[in-house]
Symmetry: C2
Subunit: 156 residues, 2 copies
DNA sequence: ACTGAAACTGAGGAGGG
DNA sequence: CCCTCCTCAGTTTCAGT
């Protein structure tokens, strides 16, 4: 994991469909050298996949909410996480420190769907209550954040 | 936006590097027909881009926090949003309904960096106070969520 | 809107320094 | 770890339907 790898990663985060030839030009290596490096980054689990980003509204997902999930006294976090994973509308799931045990991001078509989704969440064994924060607008999301050089050096 | 488009979108969300030839086989069209459809989806803003997903830990980003941002009485949300956008460690930024005006996701290398980042957030004009929730583990994130057929039909 | 042909370009592996 | 070749497959354009 050197500077070249980090530049490759940054480029692929920005444009996941960039060609190896282009990448090579950007970092000053041949396409096959880049191809080899990217393969290693994938195998090592640094790059976990490539995905198209879709405007949620364009596919009918007009409502986003952040939901805090408060556990019951006897809740098993693993079981709760498994139940959350089975709900299609739960897009992200974070185990957090604090009063709540999880914070999840829910994406649905309408507020009626949100109501139904919250019912499903509350029915999960181990969930005492939920607190929802409705997203009014998304300024940006999942933006490529680059760690600076000195910081990332320790991760090599 | 028909069933074929939705299948193409779903496939590209799962694998952003799938070839047009492969996509064509999956949906029963020629590569050139798929190429044309994908181009239109991109132009229409349905597909907003393609990005490599990276394991944050592998690039030295070990600390994630969800930060609620409470505005001052005189805060201008636009200005606050612009200031947030300039902070590299702020990966996502949601304008929300409720006491807080924004919820942001911050990703940094260490807890020291988190402390520094929170200082930066609090120094933004229009920010009265912040409330941070530290992420202990991420079960899943940005998972491809598919809207069902009837729901998405209205978005055509 | 899709197909199929044609010209082009990248992917991905072999071989060598 | 990188390069240069080489071949095959995919991309992209375009005329035709």
């Amino acid at each position: 994991m050197d500077t070249v790898d980090r530049r490759i990663i940054a480029a692929l985060r920005t444009n996941g469909r960039v060609t190896y030839a282009d990448l090579g030009r950007q970092v000053g290596l041949s396409a096959s050298a880049v191809h080899e490096r990217v393969g290693k980054l994938e195998t090592a689990g640094v790059i976990t996949g490539y995905h198209a980003m879709v405007d949620p509204r364009a596919v009918g997902l007009d409502v986003t909410a952040l939901v805090s999930i408060h556990p019951t006294d006897t809740a098993d976090d693993e079981d709760v996480a498994d139940a959350l994973a089975e709900l299609n509308e739960v897009e992200s799931c974070y185990r957090v420190a604090g009063d709540e045990s999880f914070v999840v991001k829910v994406r649905v078509a309408t507020v009626d769907d949100l109501e139904r989704s919250l019912s499903r969440l509350r029915r999960i064994k181990g969930v005492a209550r939920t607190r929802s924060t409705v997203v009014l607008s998304t300024r940006f999301e999942g933006r490529p954040n680059t760690v600076d050089e000195e910081r990332s050096a320790h991760a090599e």
